[in-house]
Amino acid sequence: MMTRYLVFANRKGGCGKTTTAVNVAHGLAMKGRKVLLIDLDSQAHATISIGKPSDLKHPGIFHLLKEEAALKNVIIQTHIEGVSLIPSSRELLKFESEFSSQRGSETLLSKKLSGDMSAFDYLIFDPPPTAGLLTISSLTAAREVYIPMQMHFLNLEGLAEMIRLIYTVSAEQNPNLRLAGVIPTFFNKNTRIAKEITEDIIKHLGEDKLFPGIRMNISLTEAPGHGKTIFEYAPGSTGASDYMDLTKKIDTAGWMKPAFAELTH
């Protein structure tokens, strides 16, 4: 299997990016896949959700990007078999402020990951809720973008903006990048607005771009506080079954052809 590079991205905060990255990572590992989760957010929520407290002190993504540590020295094996992690920490803020104005910084991450990644079936990036350097870096390094999104009217503008951003990055930095899908989060399929937005997505982006929704579920809110994924914390919950459905869909979607012929970058 060719390694797949996924990113769950949205400029909008709190839409479920990290929850999705962490739980899809575990879901894929349950299906026997080897996953490397890369925390790109200085809030380090993915690191806190799946790692140990000491991981925040471990050399991580900041040290990798600053050339202070080699790739193999920043990868941590988590307590979940099959899930490795490149942790983040508050220091990452410094990277963003220091490098944002430097030309070409958005390719640093993809260059760091350009070596042999065949030990992993999946790389999953968890970017911050901005359209800044770290999000652009993740889009430059990834191949499939999934947009987790709450089905609110106000979020449609954000969705359109994300699509434009994806097309810009794929035009200028990463021809291999494609919009893979939209993941409805905090989803209630019975509301009128959710129905309309769902129809709209199908109409304008195509049916294949609409991924299984994740319902609002209190266990999903609680799990990170226990350092557990939903499959550990509440395996019988709707959250667990929704994330398993999503995981299966992503895994069987397989490696889809990139928007353009394979190019080096």
Partner: protein, 142 residues
């Protein structure tokens, strides 16, 4: 399907259109092509600029040679020597310049340098008549 009143005011299609995305399926291709066209334009501009720069440099070097000839004719051997040495930095194999520099050297009394230079020319071009003749003259005047 009910076309009554949608709960959503502005629809995704309109929002995409506002961002210049008319058809989401083909937009990434259009964006990539637009970018490549721009890159081609920038590359062409750079190429044009470099070509101009190159011909300007060539002209400057050519001017150097002509100025040196002029200085030689005016018997300004020191100036001619400096200019020809500079010229030969650009075109170290140019035998015409070497022959002229040998003239300047011999006029300035640098006999050995002149001989050495003319020997370099005949090594490069064994049939160079001017170099051979000048060498013969130099060897007579010892």
């Amino acid at each position: 399907m009910d076309e009554d009143k949608p709960a959503v005011g502005t629809r995704l299609g309109e929002l995409l259109l506002q961002k210049g995305i008319e058809n989401a399926e083909i937009a990434p291709y259009e964006a990539r092509i637009k970018y490549l066209v721009q890159e081609i334009r920038i590359s062409e501009q750079e190429k044009e600029f470099l070509e101009q720069e190159l011909s300007r440099q060539r002209e400057l070097v050519q001017n150097l040679f002509e100025r040196a000839v002029w200085e030689l004719k005016k018997e300004n051997y020191i100036d001619a020597m400096g200019i020809l040495q500079a010229f030969l930095l650009h075109e170290p194999e140019n035998t015409k310049a070497m022959i002229n520099l040998a003239v300047a050297y011999s006029e300035l009394g640098y006999h050995d340098r002149a001989v050495k230079l003319l020997q370099d020319v005949t090594a490069q071009e064994p049939d160079n008549g001017i170099a051979k003749r000048n060498l013969a003259i130099l060897n007579e005047t010892i």
